[in-house]
Amino acid sequence: MINKNIVIVGGGPAGLEAARTLRNAGLTPILLEGSDRLGGHLLEWDSLFPSNQKASEVLESLTADLEGIKWFTNSKVEEISRIKDIYLVRTSSGYTFQANAVLLTTGFSLFNATLKQELGYGIYDRVITNADMERYFATGEHPCIHEPKTIGFVHCVGSRDEKICNRACSKVCCATAIKQACHIKEKFPLAQVYCFYMDLRMFGRGWEDMYYNAQTKYGIRFVRGRVCEVSEGMDATLNIKAEDTLLGKPIRMKMDLLVLMSGIRPRKDTEDIASNLHIELGTDGFYSPRDPFIRTNESSNEGIFLAGTCTGPATLPETFSSARSAAARIIEYLESK
């Protein structure tokens, strides 16, 4: 089995963890990353809920020891073809790799918030996204954040919304919003911070405690209602419209900063890869596993495996578990060949 080749497509958390696991089992996986750095979305995030650990620390421990892993950056996969039991993976860097098994860890893309025009992202300067907020936390700089007095977080932007063809819940934005709300409150203790939610989905371990602390320790105010219109006043403050559905009345507010929680969407190339590899997609646009309970890491095509958020929204611990279980499943598969 030691001569068998495994190609992992995507050098984010799932790809890195799967590569490490396979390497520790004595194999030499090939890890292909399309961009110029390993790390995926972890590179863009400052801290992680619920412990507020720095994303860079997690990334460091993931990339600390890559010996035994053949990794390539700037290597976007252009085509995967199959000859009998061997897959040929051709990359943009001009190489072709032979593989007995291919693991897709292509991840997700964040929803492009400019598509929800009524929320004003890309139109009004003080409307930013969760990704912009993380960048601000990491660098301490944003041209439009100067001592904001009122800050609003809008949950479910680009998720649970049929108008942009995504009915699915993005799963992690509720917790991210509360993490960011507490964090910004620490930076600006005098600011009043509001979270506009449809349903708060705090299902993870320790998440309910985050919510509790947000209420009691940080005094974050939660409004059950969806912000559906944003406009800008003469003084560049934002006017927002929502219904406080628990009160049963429309509410109007002024905001100095509005943060849109962009949801998790399939990557644009998901469909191309799926048709190239003859693997099935779910109605949500993510890759479908062969079976939702037992064979969660197998695609509908033999020899092609799946891990991480390319199969739908997931938290980071879930992504790591999925990567390790994919590695175990690949080893089983190669041994059976």
């Binding site: 919304d161 219109e229 929502a242 219904e243 559905t245 429309p250």
Partner: protein, 117 residues
């Protein structure tokens, strides 16, 4: 029947008696307009409503009240609707709200112009 004055009286219950709310009108509405079952109660429709800013018009609450058999007050408030359709544009579940409002009027207030609407 002799009613003895005990010096106190019982206030009528404020509770919604869910057991007694099976309502043929709501079943008819669901059959005609299955969109009504899609509502997740986010309140977007009410937030943008031009009429709701000045009146009791609240489509989200109306849908919820109808499903609980409490329709009298809420259906009346729909008469404020100007059918501008802003709610239709913001609904995250893609409910055809304008059509729904007309169907509610047809079923709940026939003879008040609703039947001709």
């Amino acid at each position: 029947m002799i009613i003895t004055d005990f010096g106190y009286c019982l206030a009528p219950s404020n509770a919604v008696k869910v057991d007694k709310t099976t309502d043929w009108r709501f079943e008819k509405l669901c059959a005609l307009e299955s969109d009504v079952l899609k509502c997740i109660g986010c309140g977007s429709c009410t937030a943008v409503c031009s009429a709701g800013h000045f009146s009791q018009m609240n489509l989200r609450q109306c849908i919820l009240s109808l499903s609980r058999g409490q329709w009298e007050k809420s259906v009346r408030s729909l008469s404020r609707c100007m059918l501008c359709g802003k709610c239709l544009m913001v609904c995250p579940r893609g409910i055809n709200t304008r059509h729904l409002i007309l169907s509610i009027c047809r079923i709940y207030c026939p003879g008040e112009g609703g039947s001709n609407a």
